[in-house]
């Protein structure tokens, strides 16, 4: 079975802060990590491979340094890695990103049985690229997958919903986005870590993927960022300090005044 796992390198968003003077992100010194939900997608692939054999290819689209995330994925047990990277792809929104990743999937030598994504990336939080790629690539899509078993013609997938879960039978090839509750990524092995360091990671750019140039990067993206700003700060706040009993007494008085108690 051939499984492709699409991963994204993201800044560790818990460590990103905003400069309230300039409204810019302070990204210096913020570590880059594999998007945490993509780790769950990778582990799902590894477990399927443990059981049924096959090959796992990890793909990432991003700047040259995203190669680091691919090496990490290899150290956890993926077999091959491909980096999609080109200046021309820069500034892509989820539409243009989905289009570009699909071109890479179409270029793979072996037919794909399953494409896995994390449920969303923690930097953009859009959850749009998985379903986008599925449609461009022409395969059925199940979002928020918690488990996946191989069946005769495809997969049986448990999908987390807003109020419980659904079970789907989906034919292969299929695409899934995977939730955190699915699993936890195994530790990398020392041997694989060494191999990952030396692994050859091909870089596919516009020359290799031959995209329709109107559909990539900034120009292929329907959405544009109009304005970026710091989250609003409340102006009429009251700060209390002192003895707990006094603070709480004053707070309760004010809450009753506002009729919320």
């Amino acid at each position: 079975m051939n499984i492709v796992v699409c991963i994204k390198q993201v800044p560790d968003s818990d460590k990103v802060t905003i400069d309230r003077e300039t409204n810019r992100l302070n990204r210096a010194g913020v570590p880059s990590i594999i998007n945490p939900f993509d780790e769950n997608a990778l582990e799902m692939a590894l477990q399927l491979k443990d059981k049924h054999g096959g090959k796992i290819t990890v793909i990432s689209m991003g700047p040259p340094q995203a190669e680091e995330a691919l090496r990490t994925a290899l150290s956890h047990g993926a077999d091959e890695a491909i980096l999609i990277s080109d200046r021309k792809f820069g500034g892509a929104d989820t539409w243009a990103t989905s289009y570009t990743i699909t071109l890479a999937l179409k270029k793979l030598a072996d037919p794909v049985d399953l494409i896995l994504f994390g449920k969303q990336a923690i930097d953009g939080d859009t959850a749009q690229v998985g379903p986008g790629v599925a449609h461009f690539f022409g395969v059925p899509m199940i979002t928020y997958a918690k488990s996946c078993e191989v069946t005769e013609n495809g997969f049986r997938v448990q999908q987390v919903t807003d109020h419980g879960y659904n079970v789907w039978d989906v034919e292969k090839p299929a695409a899934l986005t995977v939730v955190k509750e699915a699993n936890q990524l195994r530790m990398p092995s020392l041997k694989k870590k060494m191999a990952a360091k030396k692994a050859e990671i091909p870089v596919w750019g516009a020359e290799q993927l031959q995209p329709d140039e109107t559909k990539i990067g900034l120009s292929g993206s329907p959405t544009k960022v109009n304005k970026v700003f710091a989250p609003p700060v409340k102006l009429n706040k009251e700060i209390l300090s002192g003895e707990p009993a006094d603070m709480v007494k004053e707070l309760i008085y004010k809450l009753r005044e506002k009729k919320v108690l």
Binding site: W95, A127, Q128, T143, A174, L240, K249, I252
Partner: protein
């Protein structure tokens, strides 16, 4: 390209029951309609839509695109994306809004790709720029550390998903009327590539964060799983629910059902009490629309105080039990 001056709300339903977020989207859609002069419409794919029409009108839809087919009883991505996209192709609306539910977050990106349309996820604010005649879609990014306003200047429709509890629902009246447009869409050519074999509704213990009037949440400052008892105590005294930050859920102190924030639940209670939560905006993104926010934290510089109406600086382990005690005294 000139699009039809309509704002569509995807009327998400399963088994004839409309999702709550639909009414929130219609309520917000009315404001956009008033500002833009566009017509607010509901798009209702279902197995039988009539019983749902009155409620859609009551919340402000002036027109309903009613699509009926037995295959639309419950959600299936291939059928629903075919229906919604065919309608968009035919009618060419300016704006389409979807709930950011499991369903909306599968449907909207599929439709966006089909039509080369712009899609902005998880908007927390929508506005209409009357000068440029475009939708302004504001959303948190980078875990909520920053807000971005997204526009879609050249492609139509302009589409957004919005989480439940971000906008308030408000009925116009109980006997609104409007137009129903019956649309036939042929699904016989859509191959059945996936089939739902089971659907289970779970009563997720007693955490009903979305419906609670009072929520008391604990963060890293709570210190240990045992100490969540203090938080539960105050929640109990207030008759509310217990929330938690991502840090405490990741640490395994409390189940993820309690998690409030960008990757957890979005809540909108009357009062939100944040205890020992520093206020990574990942968390703020899930609770900022609470009517009143109380922050209890020993660090006076914690970002949680930026969004608080009342800030109590001090040790939560002393303040919260005192709060519980005084509430209990008040209630007895």
């Amino acid at each position: 390209m000139s699009a039809k001056k309509e704002i569509w709300v995807f009327a998400e339903q399963e088994n004839g029951k409309l999702a709550g977020v639909v009414f929130e989207l219609l309520s917000e859609g009315r404001k956009l309609a008033a500002k833009s002069g566009y017509t607010l419409c509901a798009v209702l794919p279902s197995a039988g839509g009539k019983p749902m029409h009155q409620e859609l009108f009551n919340y402000g839809a002036k027109k309903i695109y009613n699509v009926e087919d037995p295959r639309l009883q419950t959600y299936q991505n291939d059928y629903f994306s075919k229906v919604v996209y065919s309608l968009i192709e035919k009618e060419n609306p300016e704006i389409v809004l979807y709930g950011a539910s499991t369903i909306g977050r599968s449907l909207a990106p599929t439709v966006a790709v089909m039509g080369w349309a712009g899609l902005t996820a998880d908007c927390t604010e929508l506005d209409f720029d009357t000068e440029r005649q475009i939708l302004l879609q504001t959303r948190p990014a980078f875990g909520g550390n920053i807000m971005a306003t997204i526009i879609c200047p050249d492609h139509r429709p302009q589409m957004s998903t919005v989480r439940s509890n971000v906008f308030k629902k408000e009925r116009v009246s109980e006997n609104e009327t409007g137009e129903v447009v019956e649309v036939k869409i042929d699904l016989s050519g859509v191959k059945e590539r996936m089939k739902r074999v089971e659907s289970v509704v779970e009563e997720v213990n007693t955490v009903d964060l979305k419906a609670a009037d009072y929520i008391v949440s604990g963060g890293r400052g709570v210190g240990s799983p045992e100490n969540f008892k203090v938080i539960e105590g105050l929640a109990g005294a207030l008759g509310g629910a217990v929330g938690a930050s991502r840090a405490t859920v990741d640490a395994g102190w409390i189940s993820h059902h309690h998690q409030v924030g960008q990757t957890g639940k979005t809540v909108c209670p009357l009062v939100y009490v944040a205890c020992g939560i520093s206020g990574a905006i990942q968390h703020l993104a899930g609770m900022q629309s609470a009517d009143l926010i109380i922050a209890i934290n020993k660090d006076p510089d914690a970002p949680i105080f930026d969004v608080a109406d009342f800030g109590l600086i001090g040790d939560l382990h002393k303040i919260v039990p005192e709060f519980t005690k005084q509430i209990n005294a008040l209630r007895s």
